[in-house]
Symmetry: C2
Subunit: 199 residues, 2 copies
DNA sequence: TTATCAGTCATCTATTTGGTTGACTTCGTC
DNA sequence: GACGAAGTCAACCAAATAGATGACTGATAA
């Protein structure tokens, strides 16, 4: 034994609360997005984070606490469309690209919606997004008789669809929704449709 | 004891394989739609069906077999839009109403899509639905430059949205997606949008 | 009548899972 | 250096869960 019972601190395993928390949150994001709350396994999250699973209890008070904190963190970050002054279609296509590249956020949201139980309904305003759409209506980039709420919901639905229904999407388009051609083709159609919804 | 150890066959508990299978399938539909595969509990399904949980193994070879058979049954039944010669908007609104009244089918579909693992991708054609849309294009009920695949995906997404993202929907519209006013308001918007996508 | 077999159930079991315990380590500080 | 607090972990534990076992029941046919 050249290394007689070395402390398991080869370099990174330093004691660092923040680091451990961050690692766990990140691993939890992967795991919960992939399998949902019921399907996720704490030992798997800990393994991904390279950390003892007990730390989940230590820092977050258990699986549920970790889930809650993750949801909250994601809600806070994504609270608003945080829209720059950008044409509606560009915005939609940008979100489509981002969501296809990393579907974890959408998956997390859908899983929360499906879970129905627990999870307080989240009370953030979202008004800013609606206001943005109303501005677009004023600019005649969006027909005046459309309900901004419906348009926004539809946009979110359109962007989530290939992630939420990948097999349906594949059957419909004949290509895998993760293929770059799909993003191309579908994005173009979203553009086209949004165009038809204007003035 | 007026009934000394009566056989547990008070009337319905008759031995009837089909009945038990049907009961289990129906209970499984409820349970899996409500909680997904990982969240569902076999003892709960059996309880709902009023039957011993061992029958799940006897008839379906376990939880997973039951899930598979349920998915298959639902896919078979709902294989196609089974569209009568009906205007596109009417069709959409009809599906919206049906889905809001009984979201189990949609929830099952979404959960399958999210699960990603296992479950063979389902190879049914869906062509008939696309053909229907192409007919609509020919009738100029749908703009010719639109991709039927995209339109169909969008319609499914639109109909699923209030079920898959109930909290987002509620924040956006200010009313609960299960309220009749919502169906009214959202359905009208879907009509309007489909109108703008025509000719 | 009896043998057989599908249908049904109560009970048991192996395993998984989230969580707890108590010891050890590191770090800041007096 | 000593000491206490925070961070970390290996091992253990109780509950839950899917599935297995073997017995009982009723129907059908020989």
């Amino acid at each position: 034994m050249s290394t007689p019972r070395r402390a398991p601190t080869p370099d990174e395993r330093r004691q660092d609360a923040d680091r451990s928390r961050r690692l766990l949150l990140s691993a939890a994001f992967d795991e919960f997005a992939a399998k949902g709350f019921a399907g996720a396994r704490v030992h798997e999250i800990a393994a991904r984070a390279g950390v003892n699973k007990q730390l989940i209890n230590y820092y977050f008070g258990g699986k549920e606490g970790l889930y809650r904190e993750l949801q909250q963190a994601w809600l806070d970050r994504e609270a608003t469309f945080n829209t720059p002054q950008q044409p509606l279609a560009d915005l939609a296509v940008r979100y489509l690209r981002e969501s296809l590249a990393d579907p974890r956020g959408i998956r997390l949201m859908v899983w929360r919606g499906l879970d129905s139980s627990d999870t307080p309904p989240d009370e953030s305003p979202i008004d800013s997004d609606l206001a943005y759409l109303r501005d677009r209506q004023h600019d005649e980039e969006l027909a005046a008789d459309l309900d901004p709420a419906a348009v926004l919901l539809l946009m979110m639905a359109a962007i989530s669809a290939p992630i939420v229904m990948p097999d349906v999407t594949k059957r419909l388009f004949g290509i895998d929704p993760t293929a770059p051609e799909f993003e191309q083709r579908y994005g173009a159609q979203i553009r086209l449709i949004l165009e038809k919804l204007s003035g």
